[in-house]
Amino acid sequence: MSKVLMKGNEAIAEAAIRAGCLNYFAYPITPQSEVAEYLSWRMSEVDGVFLQGESEVAVGYMIFGAAGAGVRVFTTSSSPGISLMSEAISYLCGAQLPAVFVNIMRGGPGLGGILPSQADYFQATKGIGHGDCRLLVMAPASVQEVVEMVMTAFPLAEKYRNPVMILGDGLIGQMMEPVEFPDHLKSEPTNKDAWASNGIDFRKGSKRNLVRSLFLDPEKLNDNNLELRAKYERMKREEVRFEAYNTQGEYSVLIVSYGTMSRVCKTAIETLKAEGIEVGLIRPQTLFPYPEIAVREAARKSSCRAVLCIEMSMGQMVEDVERCVQGARPVQWYGKCGGDVPTPEEIIDLVKRTLSPM
């Protein structure tokens, strides 16, 4: 298929359909409402289900029900909406059910604003819900990449029987870029016999599947949590993805940045290169699991004097960067949050200030 010019939000919607997901429940919220708008007509073309819930809380449990029935299902929302869904996300993790959540982040806390932000990093990677639950979190930096991530999110959710989150900022949703869709991947969950609570007559064996996250017996609950932990450890071994940019040669500063922010950093890096200042970039594409080894090794390169973590929040990912660098280099945070995206000029200044003698 040739390239088409598409808004990120519409591309997300089309990518989900092409990944074989025919069930979408949602509640509108800026800056991602175009996903629902697009699917409100597109789903009926492919005999799929589009249902606008009465609230994000209801949507979360519509997802829970559909996932329990063994079908591919997803939703999209933005920060405050994801907070409302977080209870259901915890239930999905506990019951080991696959689903895909897309969070096109806006500024917070509270109602915050509607402009781009990356301030839900902690929520997505550390504290999405109560209990020992985690999400596999992917962070796209372009419309093409969000399409690819949505399409891989469904098989990954099923591989781990765990929700997957695509964490994009408002710009990823609102921007139009050329996009090429991979061939139609329409497919069914291949391992759903292990969890789907319907279709027993068509299943190999006749074991009854129960959808539950309630384990009153402490030993059984502990076992369930150990099983979940083993899955999260396996994600760390098998699913880490990142991009290393300008890290082949020597560089005096390492930037760690993701999503839209990383693109601004790349422009700054190219400008600095022309002035003879080399800066490397590690761009995590998965935020959980985090590219720990890549960040640690890039920071410890002998030419590297400092590490900058640049994000559209008041300093969240920087805690993961500090954890990885383990004190080997000074780590500094820089960011803005509220809708203003730091410009390449600001980052160029920041790098020069970092390198200037005290």
Partner: protein, 179 residues
């Protein structure tokens, strides 16, 4: 080479559409493109703007402080963005609504009566296409035949609007040459 074009005006003037047609045309010619809208609690009559980035390399920052070119459809837009345009860029200003010049001597300023020209072509609503076409003719960012193809494609779902918009395009190109 990277070029950035800021389209700005009132909501309802077809600002976002003009930008989209240019981005589409550049994509058709094999360039990397990004179209970034201003989005917010906007309304008809409020401000609307979008930025189109066209490059022969993958596009880094979609946030641009100093775009190369400006298409300003109303006076607040010209007053707001004219100072930021890079020297040597094109500023197309809608003379139908903007009485004052941009006040820059280091840019190529083109004043076009887009409203009157569009009305002569059949409808004042096509003023955005007049402006876009005049801008493309002057800046040479994409070929005029690609622009024509993309205008036709944009209105393919309402084909009765194609003749009007092509007429507006021709008139816009002619206005750029007359200057």
């Amino acid at each position: 080479m990277q070029s950035e074009v800021m389209f700005a005006g009132f909501g309802g003037q077809g600002i976002l559409l003009s930008g989209k047609i240019l981005a589409h045309a550049a994509m058709e010619e094999g360039y990397e493109v990004a179209w970034i809208p201003s989005y917010g609690p906007e309304m008809r009559g409020g401000t609307a703007y979008c930025l189109v980035v066209i490059s022969d390399k993958p596009i880094g920052s979609p946030i641009i402080k100093n775009p190369k070119h400006l298409v300003a459809m109303n006076r607040p837009s010209l007053d707001k963005f004219a100072y930021a345009i890079k020297p040597g860029g094109v500023i197309l200003s809608n003379a139908s609504l903007i009485p004052n010049p941009a006040g820059r001597s280091d840019v190529d300023e083109l004043r076009v009566q887009t409203g009157e020209i569009a009305a002569q072509a059949g409808s004042a609503k096509a003023a955005n296409i007049v402006a876009l076409s005049a801008f493309v003719a002057r800046s040479g960012l994409v070929q005029l035949k690609t622009l024509k193809h993309c205008i036709e494609e944009e209105f393919s779902k309402r084909p009765q609007l194609i003749p009007l918009n092509l007429k507006a395009m021709e008139a816009g190109i002619a206005a750029a040459q007359k200057e």
